[in-house]
Symmetry: C2
Subunit: 88 residues, 2 copies
């Protein structure tokens, strides 16, 4: 069963672009993945199963409002990860 | 960046077990994926990035309450897909 959460792509995209600008105590890849997972848990998922749904959802997630909501989730999550880094 | 939404596994598991019991107008694989995607969009995601988080989250998603919440989302989604099947 092939489905995909388009919100993953949107958060990864913004996280990649903003990672260097975030005020975080550690910039390792594990902390980055923690910020990604925590941000996704704070945002409404947008699962789709076909290409038509993919284009429609992608357009919806590119609005200024959506990007602002996603960036807010990333900033909030980076604060938590920064205060409680979870290294193995 | 490897992360995973554990809710996907939980919904897939219950959907597989209950698929034959659902009252739905079409039992094709496309409708099944639509029910899966729609159910996931109704449920809070549980993204994790490591094995420890995986076991912890899996245990949380196996409770009676969680399974009831997931089944409710599946039943509601199957009603929508049943009324509006989206075949290509």
């Amino acid at each position: 069963m092939i489905i995909h959460n388009m919100m993953e792509d949107a958060v990864k995209d913004i996280l990649e672009k903003q990672w260097g600008n975030l005020s975080i105590s550690c910039y390792c890849s594990e902390c980055k993945m923690d910020v990604l997972a925590m941000s996704l848990n704070r945002l409404k998922p947008h699962y789709i199963r076909n290409r038509a749904g993919m284009m429609y959802t992608k357009a919806n997630l590119m609005t200024e409002q959506s990007r602002a909501t996603i960036l807010t989730a990333i900033v909030e999550s980076s604060k938590v990860v920064s205060a409680h880094p979870c290294h193995r």
